[in-house]
Symmetry: C2
DNA sequence: GCCGAACCGGACCGGGCGGTCAACTTTGTA
DNA sequence: TACAAAGTTGACCGCCCGGTCCGGTTCGGC
């Protein structure tokens, strides 16, 4: 068991994670460790003390965000209207991404075991959200939790091209996609749902 | 006016473009010029003779693909069923992307003037495709050509996570999104369509 | 078949990157 | 307050990348 971090180390860790998120959001995956350190106001060596490699740093950021999403999902699981809840979850996910688009980090940390573990938990939460909505007839019955896990980030991706001009544009595409998920007017799907 | 390329230069140019597309598809934007040259069976210097910078090479690849899409769109503009035509166009776009996902190149070459020009032409083609479908009542009347321009690539993005396991999965999400574009069961959209 | 222009290739350059390390500073505990 | 452990730092390393350059090769008009 590792003892708690020293006060200064804990502070630096927080600064570092925040600065890294900002820097990645601005410059993409190519953001350099040196720039991140400078932004956090710490030395480059300190970065590597906290995270052995750049990949570890990325994984830590992703972990934070996935965790937040799981919490939101679990809260919504306790709400009344299951259809609303699902839509709200998607909205929350999109909002997180809109604030700072770090989707590429998710892809970059795909191999990480910890990230996979937590993402599986997120997947489970989404499964329940969808199952509930489906039973209530709020979404068509041929969509699965895995579908929603994949669809989740699409609105931001679509709106990404006009990000600065219309930062809330993702709402439009979320609505279109959600209409496609409704039972009314649904056409049979040409491809089976993906396995895990 | 530049005279035609010498026979060997023309051949190398073709080899180079093909190899670059493959290499980018496999290794992403970070694919190195040296590797591309090796794959094409030519020297590194030759790459830079054909394209002054890496960005120029990327733009050339993107240009080829956008051109192909414009042609497909213009053909479909002459078909009978406007709704089918739109769906077919989206299918063609997705298929191109599924073969080799080079969406990141599109983003990387966003600044290029030539690319912008051709993309504007593609946009026009899509506008007409959508307008026709809308008049026929095949799609809801609050979606625009710009919407479809943005939505076009979403199915591949969504299916990208399971690319090798289910290469045709994009068809599923294209169908869901297209259901969302239909007039039946459409709910009002919470955000106006983007301008150009 | 000759010859100049076009083309090819790979050694080379400067720069920036991720990551290391050893000297130094801060922390917190006894 | 004394001191060992934990944390910090930035100069430094090796590597690889995009891009240059020039001696050698190939093409094609005459």
């Amino acid at each position: 068991m590792n003892r708690p971090l020293r006060a200064d180390a804990a502070r630096n860790r927080r600064l570092l994670l925040a600065a890294a998120a900002d820097e990645f959001a601005e410059h993409g995956l190519e953001a350099s460790i040196a720039d991140i350190a400078k932004r956090a106001g710490i030395g480059k060596g300190t970065v590597f003390r906290h995270f052995a490699t750049k990949e570890d740093l990325i994984a830590a950021i992703v972990l934070d965000r996935v965790e937040a999403l799981i919490e939101t999902g679990e809260d919504l699981l306790r709400s009344e209207n299951s259809g609303e809840a699902l839509l709200e979850f998607l909205t929350a996910a999109a909002q997180q991404r809109q604030q700072r688009d770090l989707s590429f980090l998710q892809r970059a940390s795909a191999g990480n075991a910890e990230v996979s573990r937590l993402q599986a938990r997120l997947q489970e939460t989404i499964d329940q959200l969808v199952e509930r909505a489906r039973e209530d007839g709020a979404v068509r019955d041929d969509v699965t939790g895995t579908d929603l896990f994949l669809l989740m980030c699409a609105p931001n991706y679509i709106a990404g091209y006009a990000h600065t001009a219309a930062p809330e544009l993702w709402r439009r595409y979320l609505a279109i996609i959600f209409d496609g998920l409704r039972p009314e007017g649904a056409h049979p799907l040409p491809h089976p749902a993906p396995e895990r």
